[in-house]
């Protein structure tokens, strides 16, 4: 059985749930009604616009248009990463660390996936745009969490790091523990997602595919592919970010350079 795509009436029915929630919030004076309604309205408008935009992109089937969509996605991801940092590097590095490594990891993993899936044509928007999107979202998470953890603990652990340097440790030795714990923080979301997949919840993508009529086993295979890509992307992105951050937060004389970080 293949379910038809939900129509306006089905969506409106689902919308009643939001109204119910908002009503409850007002009744219990949670003060969430407004936020909830605005968020729901944003989701509706944003997703419909993206649906319309992607329909056009898919119809035109041009590699340049695909590239333009990717650029727009990268730009908004960069903004998100930047606004998540409590302390960030000054100058061009503010964008370079984080956005640069996110872009690299996303392009690498997406390229790897395209080589595996071999869509026809290779830039097929139906494959590239959603794939790059989901990879980008996860890399962005991994990168921004580990970068924030790294920069925060650099400031907090300053005395310990400098004690090691003063005793003759190289910058890589002195920052190894900081780097490792930042990497671990960045990887936890995807590890959780993989461990819980199928047991705690059915992943969103798999749910959508099963509802749209795909066989559960095929949907599971797609979901596995995606999860593996996501963990690869998040791991690569977080690793690259912390490597660059270690390098930039110290100098060639193995000094800790907190002067290169600015707080907001």
């Amino acid at each position: 059985m293949i379910a038809a795509a939900p129509g306006i009436s089905e969506l409106a029915l689902a919308g009643l749930l939001i109204l119910l929630n908002a009503g409850l919030s007002m009744l219990l004076q949670l003060g969430l009604a407004r936020q909830l309604l605005v968020a729901a309205a944003r989701a509706v408008v944003q997703l419909l616009l993206v649906g319309l935009l992607l329909r056009t992109v898919f119809q035109l089937n041009s590699p340049w248009l695909v590239a333009a969509v990717l650029v727009a996605m990268f730009a908004s991801a960069s903004y998100e990463i930047l606004s998540r940092q409590e302390r960030r590097f000054g100058g061009w590095w503010r964008v370079g660390i984080g956005s640069g490594t996110t872009m690299l990891a996303t392009l690498f993993v997406t390229g790897f996936a395209l080589l595996t899936l071999r869509p026809e044509p290779w830039f097929s928007p139906q494959v590239v745009v959603p794939l790059a999107g989901i990879v980008l979202g996860n890399v962005m998470n991994g990168v921004s969490i580990s970068l924030n953890a790294f920069n925060t603990s650099l400031v907090r652990e300053r005395a310990a790091i400098e004690a090691r340097l003063a005793l003759g440790a190289t910058r890589y030795e002195a920052l190894k523990a900081t780097q490792r714990s930042a990497l671990r923080s960045g990887m936890i979301p995807i590890i959780n997602q993989m461990s819980a997949a199928g047991i705690v919840t059915l992943p969103g993508m798999m749910t959508g595919q099963i509802l749209a009529g795909m066989s559960p086993l095929d949907a599971a295979k797609y979901q596995i592919l995606i999860l593996l890509l996501l963990s690869g992307g998040a791991g690569l992105g977080a690793l690259a970010t912390t490597v660059v951050a270690v390098w930039r937060s110290t100098d060639e004389r193995d000094r800790l350079r907190l002067d290169r970080l600015e707080s907001r």
Binding site: E157, R158, A159, A160, I161, E162, A163, R164, L165, A166, L167, G168, A169, T170, A174, A177, D251, R253, D254, R255, L256, R257
Partner: protein
């Protein structure tokens, strides 16, 4: 042995100093005068102008870690990178037997750092800096806040090290301590050092 040439950073310097093996130099000056800035410059822990040299070998000509293993800075606020005391000493050294020399029980070698008082940490961080290759110690208020007995122990340890040929540049706010340990006394004011009698 240690020679600095026109070291300067921020509002401190240019500073020329020389320190011989077995010699202790005291450094005094108002808070904020830049005493720590000077010690950190000598250890090459911050970007600066000028250079320092050990037996004629310039700091800038060797990797910074190699320099700092010989010219070691001990900060006023000690930093600990592992939860346990033992991890802060090189493997294979017999440091537990040294702990009583600074008035700390030998068992403390197996303790978590969090169990130590501020004063105990301060003394341990000094002990931690005394390693085989260390030739110059840059001490930033090594006995501030310690009781009289602990101060005496630390000074005794430092005298032993001086007798073995170690050189010490020590920031202190205590003129009596400066007189007890150092053979020359410096004061840092307005970014320059001058010899004084404490």
């Amino acid at each position: 042995m240690l020679q600095t040439t026109a070291l300067s950073r921020l509002n401190v310097g240019p500073i020329d100093l020389s320190l011989e093996a077995g010699q202790c130099l005291s450094l005094m000056g108002a808070s904020g005068a830049g005493k720590s800035v000077l010690l950190r410059m000598i250890a090459d822990l911050d970007p600066h102008e000028g250079d320092a040299a050990l037996d004629g070998l310039p700091c800038s000509a060797m990797p910074a870690p190699a320099w700092r293993r010989q010219v070691t800075y001990v900060a006023a606020d000690s930093g600990w990178w592992d939860p346990y005391v033992g991890a802060h000493f090189p493997a294979g050294t017999d440091f537990p037997t040294l702990l009583p020399t600074v008035g700390i029980a030998a068992e403390a070698a197996a303790w978590p750092v969090s169990r130590l008082s501020t004063g105990e940490r301060q003394r341990l961080s000094l002990l931690r800096a005394l390693r085989a290759g260390t030739r110059v110690l840059l001490l930033d208020e090594p006995t501030s806040g310690l009781d009289v007995e602990s101060v005496a122990r630390v000074e005794h340890l430092l005298r032993e090290q001086l007798a073995r040929g170690l050189a010490i540049l020590m920031v202190t706010h205590d003129p009596a301590q400066a007189r007890r340990l150092a053979s020359r006394h410096l004061e840092l004011a307005a970014g320059r050092v001058r010899t004084v009698t404490p």
